[in-house]
Homo-oligomer: 229 residues x 2
DNA sequence: AAGTGGTCTAGACCACGGC
DNA sequence: CCGTGGTCTAGACCACTTC
């Protein structure tokens, strides 16, 4: 007989939850008891339960024990592709065009998203990513030059801002949201689409140990799909 | 001095990657060497490196060793909220209205997404989720009645299809994509929005061990934001 | 064939947080 | 206080994959 692995335990626990042997909200046996039941060590049970907790099926608290989560919201991992890679993977030639560069105070929506004072000037870049010279996505970015001073002297006509930042600014934490938006005059002109077309919009802000680095909004071409793995 | 924990190692490794002490593509020391360097056991190093690999920063292969990933596509975990919960969390009263129920052959887009024969009839449900009686999202769902026969005799006017399925159909794997779409006549009427409004659209299909269970498309009200954690 | 990561064990100590 | 999960150790064996 094969030895019980943490994977086997995960499968078994998932099944017990599915068939309601352990109903939602229920306290399940502690690690030591399960280790005995499955004839394995506590570390093995621990890994299985820890991963199920990360997946959102279980809730664990010291002393209180491990419970089956009542309403398991399903989680999905999105991969935010690197624009250049994504375009080249389609067999197209990646291109990048800087549309606007200014150093100015951002709108309130940006200061709020980044958590900077409303009067602080930021570096504002608008650019278009292209595949075979056709627009693929529009990027509207604000960079905190207090955190990344060298951005002020960088030629973003030549360097893709995202790729430059990855190499020149550390970051510890990011925050992403998605929404849909109708194309306005500017977006429709830059992307070559009809006014009003529905675009998938991604807003991403990044920080380094609490200090805001950059906030970017990407408008994807209508029809673009963002996938989970 | 504090003992080196796997968290400390993660921080240190991230930093070495960031400062390019270990450049992209580079092979890093093996687990045993790092364990010696950090004066800890190999298991501790293993956990740190494993989690960094899950996060997409490292790539690990037996015998080949551990490398820094060249283009770390950033990953983000989305929480797909349960509709009822999300609405109730806003302090609103959840409601659910069945608009259409039929048993028919689906359009090609659905048969392709689910991987069923083009002539196989599926249960088709269209419904609206409401908060305080106002539309919140439109749901267009197809259920494979071969896998879930009891769906045919269920009163989906009374039971929310998602909640019913969670309790009555096992599933092993799901697949989610997001896109944006302009509201057509039907969507605008059901959601009470202008024709052409940009809606965030989620497509989700689920399978149980390779057998398709259901495929659903959710149209969210314009302005809705999907967030990562 | 050999080196690397993947996993398991048995035991230990600790931190948190119900009680 | 003291039970629970969180983590670490030292050692072991195994699986994979490159050489």
């Amino acid at each position: 007989m094969k030895r019980t692995s943490f994977q086997d335990i995960k499968v078994e626990v998932r099944s017990r939850i599915a068939v309601r042997q352990w109903p939602p909200g229920e306290l399940i046996p502690n690690e030591q008891e399960l280790a005995t039941e499955f004839s394995c060590s506590r570390a093995t049970v621990n890994r299985a339960l820890r991963e199920l907790a990360e997946a959102g099926l279980l809730e664990r608290r010291r002393k209180a024990g491990t419970r089956v989560v009542v309403n398991p919201a399903s989680k999905a991992t999105l991969v935010i592709p690197i624009m250049r890679q994504e375009i080249e993977n389609c067999g197209q030639i990646y291109g990048y065009k800087l549309i606007l560069r200014e150093h100015t105070a951002p709108p309130i929506s940006v200061t709020r998203a980044m958590g900077v004072p409303t009067d602080q000037r930021l570096l504002h870049l608008i650019s278009v990513h292209t595949g075979n010279a056709k627009p693929f996505a529009l990027e509207d970015r604000w960079i905190n030059t207090i955190q990344v001073p060298s951005a002020q002297t960088t030629d973003f006509g030549q360097y893709n801002a995202n790729e430059w930042l990855v190499q020149n600014a550390a970051y510890s934490h990011g925050d992403i949201t998605f929404t849909a938006s109708n194309a306005g005059d500017f977006e429709s002109e830059q992307l070559g689409i009809d006014v009003g077309s529905a675009m998938l919009v991604m807003d991403r802000s990044t920080w380094d140990n609490g200090s805001p680095i950059t906030s970017v909004r990407i408008y994807y071409l209508p029809g673009y799909r963002m996938q989970t793995i």
